[in-house]
Symmetry: C2
Amino acid sequence: MTGSPRNDRLIRALKREPVDCTPVWIMRQAGRYLPEYRASRERAGDFLTLCKTPELACEVTMQPLARFDLDAAILFSDILTIPDAMGLGLSLHEGEGPRFARPINSKADVDSLGVPDPEDDLGYVLEAVRVIRHELADRVPLIGFSGSPWTLATYMVEGRSTRDFAKIKNMIYREAPAAQKLLGLLSQSVGLYLKAQARAGAQVLMVFDTWGGVLGHAEYREFSLDPMAQVLSELQSDPIASKVPTIVFTKGGGQWLPQIASIGCDAIGCDWTTSLAQARLAVKDQVALQGNLDPAILYASPERIRSAVAEVLADFGSGPGHVFNLGHGVTPGVNPDHVKVLVDAVHELSVISP
Amino acid sequence: MTGSPRNDRLIRALKREPVDCTPVWIMRQAGRYLPEYRASRERAGDFLTLCKTPELACEVTMQPLARFDLDAAILFSDILTIPDAMGLGLSLHEGEGPRFARPINSKADVDSLGVPDPEDDLGYVLEAVRVIRHELADRVPLIGFSGSPWTLATYMVEGRSTRDFAKIKNMIYREAPAAQKLLGLLSQSVGLYLKAQARAGAQVLMVFDTWGGVLGHAEYREFSLDPMAQVLSELQSDPIASKVPTIVFTKGGGQWLPQIASIGCDAIGCDWTTSLAQARLAVKDQVALQGNLDPAILYASPERIRSAVAEVLADFGSGPGHVFNLGHGVTPGVNPDHVKVLVDAVHELSVISP
């Protein structure tokens, strides 16, 4: 459980140490675009059974590694395991997104929430981490993750996917104390959860702040960034978790990179709207950067994918601290062969000539 | 038709000239949150009849001015009139967004498109401009507008609202020449259309680039910004239109303000993710800024709305060149009294003390 991965490109890049070529992994690399994933899911019956059965979670986590020369595995799980453990009743339906049977509608609902105990309430996740680490046998590092407190709060209050975020914004603008209490509970919960993942064997930790970008610049700081800072602070106080590199990814957060860099993460995820060259200037090379190809490029021809990879590498430029990734998850309609083209192109085109 | 408005705060602010207080208007100020609008629409039968009947378009354009101390009227119309005039068959259904009966599926579909003649094919819009100008009697300026070429292209290719923009991105990544031809046609069409609106009496012109923010930073320049630059260049070559101030609003474009400022617009619209103070630094005060309150603040209490207005004014700071607005359209569930609170607060809190 404590071994270092033989392929340590990701860890080195996150620490801004030199690498032989740029490491690459892909958000949602274990997912519906892979026929073997669809077969596993078919057998499991539904998505949550896949997540909640450590052997199945391990099976699908390993699938993309069998096909592609990826530099990391990422725990197969959902960003909404914490609210599910809080008793909100998560369900996931293809094409509809997540739904909660018991969303948060009031201050009283917030008051009724407790902080989940990772081992007691989310033991299946920690067991999946252990099973996957065993299966990986130190080939590549394993990334653990959670949704950000703000992102969890949006789903918990909206109850489902939304375009206008009217309910959660009603809460922050009209019932700020309820929102603050909810985010405090979630910061604590996410901190404990990620710490437990690190202790179970996760070698990198990532916070997915999928919906931070819908907030105003001042509200982003209060309701998304400060809670993530609390999460990182919880990790930094732990002897094991404090050694695990962290990645914070606020989708649509390209204007806020200096603020994100200031909360103590090792790397920032960037979506494709951000130029990595400008991002490096903005964060003064104090953190590593992860990203940032538009997932839609995977619909294009292999030649076009290779040229797009070259453009991202050139945009980042020379020097350490780049982890190649898409700017968001790979989409279900993508041809897996195109993902192979991308992964191979990253390694091939980023080799530093002697 | 050629008179200057008695209330010229908007025009002055767009030219970065001193004003007695900050001008304010609101995107979608004539809309479903107003009971009198809902009554007009009920009588008209549907949204497109409202747009296509100049007297009705005038009626709803004037409604918010009767209630609120607004510093501008904006033509009541739809951003998709051009593709409708191109023969794509626009329909709009409440809660579903726009839909085209004959979307663009191929290069052959693009080849079949022509550039609409504003007087022949969009005469109802120009007639609405004339009727509204007459009704306004130079009380406040009238804003004309169009969707940006890129935003029109997204709807034309997707055929309806989308979350992932898969079809249009397929086109730009796999069939770039078809996409370039489509955007060329649309740049020409939007340029002619806005020029005709200026000649019919529009005193400010705004380009709504609702979907520029879904593009990568390099693709934004090629497929959204350059076409808008062509539109502005068409306007600048006309003796009448060249005197009309222009506003460009790319939602989610906060990272690209210096590039947007460089295409020759007078003002840039900002959404709420952007700090106006940082935006001023980014554009070096070379253009005016419009925005940028989160529309969701209108759900909050009058006191909270006033404090939010004060925060936006303070964020912009002193000096000329601010047009107050929301960062996106007002939403249907908002209490009209709250809009009044906002409008009055802008004027009251921005008065420059002697």
